[in-house]
Amino acid sequence: MSVELLKPELARIVRIKPMVEDHHLFQVRFEDAETVESFRHRPGQFVEMSVIGSGEMPISISSSPTRRGILEFCVRRVGRVTNALYRLPQNSLLGLRGPYGNGFPIEEMKGNNLLIVAGGLGMVPLRSLLWYALDNRRDFKEITLMYGCRSPAEMLFRYELETLTVRDDMSCLLTVDDKAGQEWDGNVGVATDLFAGVEFDAANTYAAICGPPIFYKYVIQKLLERGFSKGRILMSLERKMKCGIGKCGHCGIGGAKKLVCIDGPIFTYWDVVDMREVI
């Protein structure tokens, strides 16, 4: 085995599914059959993805570990490497290394209610947890998803999530800030508005949340109002990353007391509440 920790393995893009503007879903499979077999991840973990000839970036694994073989990544086109990825046709090769990060503490969460609150791109890492919980439905009590986006056209996984609204073993609440003149007969309002009609047994619930910075502020406030302990609020943090393995320093928070790539990206609110520069 190579002693180079930063060496990616080859993987192939088997399918590209455009979802909303500048957000494509990439279905990827390792080239090496043994790696396909041996690769194991936890919901909430990420990989370092290399676009050959362009560079490397951290991307959440958006598929559940219960769906093996193909890994799914939802990538927003924003900069140099993501643009290079968007130029690749189906069947191209990529580099992947990982999985990295701690992932959600699923052993601890089992037997509890699960509340997932997502804003915008925050649905991407939480989708892995959602499907993990649905595929292990008996391990969890009530499952609630609250997902808010700016407009219907920006809702990720919209059709997949709409099929969940009719399931009677979970509650799937979707909302948009603004219909923006598009077809939508669901809720209108911000994600925190969805709390209004829902009762929580906060002592027996884990809340998993992910979204833009301002989203955290309001959602955490709501959860605290509803009696959630700080240790039961799980959040996925995003920081600049280079190595993904706790060495390059870029992802440090609180004077590098924690490195998001290895101590996170999933933190309880309690873990980071006293830390500077976090939210």
């Binding site: 190579s2 002693v3 180079e4 920790l5 930063l6 060496k7 990616p8 393995e9 080859l10 080239e31 290399s50 050959i52 000839g53 362009s54 560079g55 490397e56 924003v78 900069g79 993501t82 090769l93 580099g95 910075p213 995003e238 920081r239 600049k240 280079k242 190595c243 393995i245 706790g246 060495k247 390059c248 320093g249 870029h250 440090g252 609180g254 004077g255 590098a256 007391k257 290895i262 500077r276 520069e277």
Partner: protein, 342 residues
Amino acid sequence: MRIIKLKKEHLRDFVGSLSAFGKLYAPQARGEKSFVLKELKDLSNLRLDYRRTILPPKKFFNRPDETILNFSSDNGYQAAADANGGRRVLFGLHACDIKGLEILDWVMRDGYRDEKYFQRRERTAVIGVSCEPDESCFCLAMQADNVETGYDLFLSDVNSCYLVTVRTSLGDDMVNANQELFQEVGKDTIEAFKKKTHAHARKLDDMCDLSVSQMPELIELEYMSDIWKDYAKRCLSCGSCTMVCPTCTCYDIRDEVELDQQRGTRKKRWDSCFFPDYAAVAGGENFRAEAYSRFRYRYLHKQDGFVAKYGRSSCVGCGRCIEICPAKIDLRDVIKSIEGVT
């Protein structure tokens, strides 16, 4: 532990013999006042009177700039051969730098153990030598004035000879290969050694009026203080202080691509938390956009975050950052300002 005596007149012979144990590196002059650790090709260039080298010995293990992978669009990523994996002997390291390497080891071992780093470390012998402090040294305050581990041999200057502490089996081999150069330690030498040690400790104590014991608490309490902003006004965000620091480990990863866009190399290069783009992410968000927040971060890490994680500061008081800073910012002044003792 074995302690023996090497007369100064035998030093060169001994150093010369060490190349049998690997490529030999030692402190040598560069220009008028600077020193560097580089391959010792001519024994007469050895300068054991140096104060500090420009770059610390971390450069041998964490290279400033190195190719880690070669890639091509059809073959994927292949690990580059390690050009720094051969046997080496670093001669003449001071206690603070040996401590610095130990701290580097903790970081490289934590979580994902960096095997390449440890292969390099394991193939490199370290021979320490006692030092004379100058006005930028404050190793005493950082508990790095003395080391009991982290070296194969340590030479303590006692007037006309060195007391040589043999710490490892490899160090023992080095001595045994040159038995005729060494002697047993006599009573006079022991007395002289005690005197020297005492005088050295007194000198360090006189020079160093710094205390960092409350820094984590004080940094927390003074987090919003204008002190950071005042210093940051002078700071050029040049990153020199982090480059020369024996325990700063940040690096950047970037690809260099051939013109055909099909092949290239992936490089690892020293980076600095002072650089504006250090914490900047796609879409324009920057977690430390302001110069003062980056300036503060260095102290937050070295004097607080590192303490929380490893039980001590990552600063060893070598004084390199003080000597190199183009804005003449002295880390000791910053600490004193935070402590309110200026």
